[in-house]
């Protein structure tokens, strides 16, 4: 706390001075969703100005990826957004595939879509749990975590881990999904709508929640565009931009789904968009699991993907390709690519520059949370300090995604 700007008041009761109070929030604070520091100037309970300080989780992933082969980059991409790892994997892989022109088999595309959409649901469940926790409601956290646990089991069955999946490969998937994958996903698709209806009644139909979020921290359409907002937070301000529709990748053009959009621009709209998105994601998963046909799961091109294990025993060529891929990886042509994708937080894309070597010359992550976080400055201004905490949560920042 330190001395801030002096404000002079001249009222009919007499002239007096007040001082703005400067308060430091974080970096270690339960409501900042990670390691985020805010410096807030207050006039009474109203926020005069707010400055976010980020970088506490900066790990230098981009620089590290520039010193690893393309295939090894999958190890790092999902660690940035640890709540929505599949989306980062997919964005990185799509960039590399565009660079080398890999042909991804249909089964791999479908599995990628299923996992990414399930991960979006899992991410939004964390969003609801933690946002409502910030509002003082403890119980929803247990409900949403219960559902997320089912999803985590699915992710664990395919990739072997519950976080930092690293399951996608350039050209396809690490391996085919296990036998119990399809029944697990079908079971989830069958059960989850009931829970979703329950959540709609419990959360969005709640009078206290409406009173706390309606008309609070409003971002108009113009402000949202000015502050480079993307994703669900942008769609809550009346811009129906979704890259799954606008520039379909991984076969999203095959699925029938809507893009929820609200004009309100307040915290309520940002929550409602995500609630509707879980429903749309479930629709995509239901269609994709019906379209899932048996088939190969990785590009058979030997210059990109490892040969099957049994070929190594009787084919010298397979051994050579295996050796080349393991020791140095593949060499994409020179060039720079960028593929925009829609993560649970907004536009996510990897700008990858290749110099013809087996490691990327430059990797730049366009992470949605970093750009979205800036708009706190304008959306919190003039609001109550207590609302700022929900406002941070309503943008759903993941600080690993911000700091890279």
């Amino acid at each position: 706390m330190s001395k801030g700007t002096v404000v002079k008041h001249d009222t009919e009761l007499g002239a007096f001075d007040t001082q703005h109070m400067r308060i430091n929030v974080g970096p270690q604070h339960p409501s900042t969703h990670g390691v985020l520091r805010l410096v807030v100037d207050l006039d009474g309970e109203r926020i005069v100005s707010l400055r976010p300080h980020v970088g506490y989780l900066h790990t230098g992933f981009e620089k590290t990826m520039e010193n690893r082969t393309y295939q090894q980059g999958v190890t790092y991409s999902n660690r940035m957004d640890y709540v929505n790892g599949f989306a980062h994997d997919l964005a990185y892989i799509l960039g590399v595939e565009k660079l080398i022109g890999a042909r991804v088999p249909e089964r791999a595309q479908r599995v990628r879509v299923i996992l990414t959409e399930l991960n979006r649901i899992a991410s939004h469940l964390v969003f609801f749990g933690t946002t409502l926790l910030d509002m003082g409601a403890l119980t929803p956290f247990f409900y949403t975590m219960r559902e997320r646990e089912v999803l985590q089991d699915i992710f664990e069955s395919v990739s072997g881990v519950r976080m930092n999946y690293g399951y996608f490969r350039v050209g396809g998937l690490y391996r085919d999904v296990p036998e119990n994958f399809e029944p697990m996903v079908r079971q989830f698709v069958k059960e989850f709508p009931d829970y979703l209806d329950q959540y709609k009644d419990l959360f969005m139909g709640n009078d206290i929640l409406e009173a706390r979020t309606r008309g609070v921290a409003v971002l108009t359409r113009q402000q949202a565009l000015d502050w480079c907002l993307t994703g669900p937070s942008l769609r809550a301000s009346g811009v129906p931009l979704d890259f799954r529709k606008a520039a379909p990748y991984s076969g999203y053009q095959d699925y029938d789904f809507d893009v929820p959009c609200y004009d309100d621009g307040d915290i309520w709209a940002r929550m409602q968009v995500r609630m509707d998105e879980m429903h749309e994601s479930l629709r995509i998963v239901a269609q994709a699991i019906d379209m899932l046909e048996p088939g190969p799961t990785i590009d058979p091109d030997r210059r990109i993907s490892l040969p099957p294990r049994h070929e190594l025993e009787n084919s010298m060529e397979a051994v050579i390709f295996h050796f080349k891929l393991v020791t140095e990886g593949f060499h994409p042509p020179k060039g720079e690519v960028y593929v925009p994708t829609e993560s649970a937080r907004g536009e996510l894309g990897y700008y990858i520059a290749s110099d013809g070597g087996s490691m990327p010359y430059r990797v730049k992550v366009r992470a949605p949370s970093l750009a979205n976080l800036q708009s706190l400055e304008v959306s919190s201004r003039g609001g109550l300090f207590a609302d700022m905490v929900i406002n941070i949560a309503s943008f759903d920042p993941v600080l690993g995604d911000v700091d890279k």
Binding site: V54, G55, H58, G60, E62, K63, T64, N67, K98, L99, L225, D226, W227, C228, L229, T230, V239, L241, D242, F243, K245, A246, A247, G335, E336, V337, Y338, P340, E347, G349, Y351, A353, D355, G356, Y361, R362, K364, R366, L370, A371, L373, Q374, S375, V378, D403, K404
Partner: protein, 203 residues
């Protein structure tokens, strides 16, 4: 889009196509005009600003740095990369007058590449600590070779630390790892000049 590309060509822009991505390299003085023209043509959203360092790029002959503005339209269908080539020490005008959200993006570019944006209201480092010298995404910034002073006063110099691991040097601790149980110590190869683990006293 074609009208915009003509307008950018008038400003001195050179167009490149790669795998369906359009980028236009504009001269430094025209960068704000180019962004304004893109915005007037409907490319209203600024997605990213980032720097490139071509110091070690094979066959590169132009200026060392490039700054890339990634803009697209509200429908998400048209995207344009506006590039500016820069030498070390050259500065760019800020785009915060066009998009308030350019603030963090320019700060990140300044932090990582060391490109200065003139007129930026608050050009500070964004991600790296205040006491870190240099700009990590430059190609001459060493990877993981930063000497570190820990809070307890211990100083770690990576070069000597690695030398200690590889056995060519005593290293920081002088400890090379002992023999496993059941292996006679004299059978393990001994590198000259390495420190041995102290013998247990009394055995």
């Amino acid at each position: 889009m074609s009208a915009l590309l003509e307008r950018l060509a008038e400003l001195g822009g050179v167009q490149h196509e790669f795998k369906g991505m359009t980028s236009v390299t504009v001269p430094k003085r025209a960068v704000l005009d180019a962004l304004r023209a893109a915005r007037a043509d409907g490319l209203e959203m600024l997605t990213d600003i980032h720097g490139m360092d071509y110091l070690t790029y094979p066959g590169h002959t132009g200026k060392r740095f490039a700054v890339i503005y990634n803009v697209h339209d509200v429908a998400g269908r048209r995207r344009l990369f506006i590039r500016v080539d820069l030498d070390d020490g050259e500065t760019l005008p800020t785009a915060t007058g066009l998009w308030s959200g350019a603030s963090f993006l320019e700060r990140e570019t300044f932090d990582m590449m060391g490109v200065v944006f003139d007129g930026h209201p608050d050009l500070r480092k964004l991600l790296t600590p205040e006491d870190l010298e240099g700009h990590p995404h430059r190609k001459d910034f060493p990877l993981g070779e930063t000497p570190t002073l820990f809070g307890d006063g211990r100083f770690l110099d990576p070069a000597s630390f690695r030398a200690g691991l590889s056995g060519r040097d005593q290293g920081l601790t002088g400890w090379k790892g002992g023999a496993r149980d059941g292996v006679v110590a004299s059978q393990t190869p001994k590198a000259p000049g390495t420190a041995q683990r102290p013998e247990k006293s009394g055995s």
